[in-house]
Amino acid sequence: EAGVAQSPRYKIIEKRQSVAFWCNPISGHATLYWYQQILGQGPKLLIQFQNNGVVDDSQLPKDRFSAERLKGVDSTLKIQPAKLEDSAVYLCASSYLSGQGHGYTFGSGTRLTVV
């Protein structure tokens, strides 16, 4: 089974620039998550999709972050404009079902550095 694919692996941008991350979940996984992991902290959920609908985006800074999941498969996360505090690893994960008891499969993440 192919894993969760993310690109790019690394990105360095200047503050106020925009950036986009891409995620391709495991085939057949209906639920897709974007997490932000700041150095020294645990991952924090930004947004959860069920198919192409948003389930939870309560912690997504909507003034600068946006995400979409077209056709319920791939997803993109965008930051515009970026701030220094957005430097983090952005992790995409997918699961077959939502709800407790189902461990996610994470991608390797995109490490963003904002200078």
Binding site: V4, T31, Y33, G40, Q41, G42, P43, K44, L45, Q48, V55, D56, L91, A93, S95, L97, S98, G99, Q100, G101, H102, G103, Y104, T105, F106, G107, S108, G109
Partner: protein, 111 residues
């Protein structure tokens, strides 16, 4: 508001000995708990989980214990191996699938 806490940033043990990683939570509505392991430059990988209706779950060298009254869970690794050296995250969830992660504990197993 840190609902899941791992108060030990790091732990060092000798190969063959037991590793015990601890996690505390504050929200009594959590009903499922998971442990993830993370190597550098990789995403977290699922290790083991436990439902709130149980107090112990075992999978090979890994055992998770849950003490609901104390809102505390622990991961035991016996025997520890150098390949277990990684960052370990505990996480908690309710029925939505959203995971709340702790800050992580870096485990170093010395040969």
């Amino acid at each position: 508001d840190q609902q899941v806490k791992q108060n030990s940033p790091s732990l060092s043990v000798q190969e063959g000995r037991i590793s015990i990683l601890n996690c505390d939570y504050t929200n009594s509505m959590f009903d499922y708990f998971l442990w993830y392991k993370k190597y550098p430059a990789e995403g977290p990988t699922f290790l083991i989980s436990i439902s709130s209706i149980k107090d112990k779950n075992e999978d090979g060298r890994f055992t998770v214990f849950l003490n609901k009254s104390a809102k505390h869970l622990s991961l035991h690794i016996v025997p520890s191996q150098p390949g277990d050296s990684a960052v370990y995250f505990c996480a908690a969830s309710r029925d939505t699938g959203k995971l709340i992660f702790g800050q992580g504990t870096t485990l170093q197993v010395k040969p």
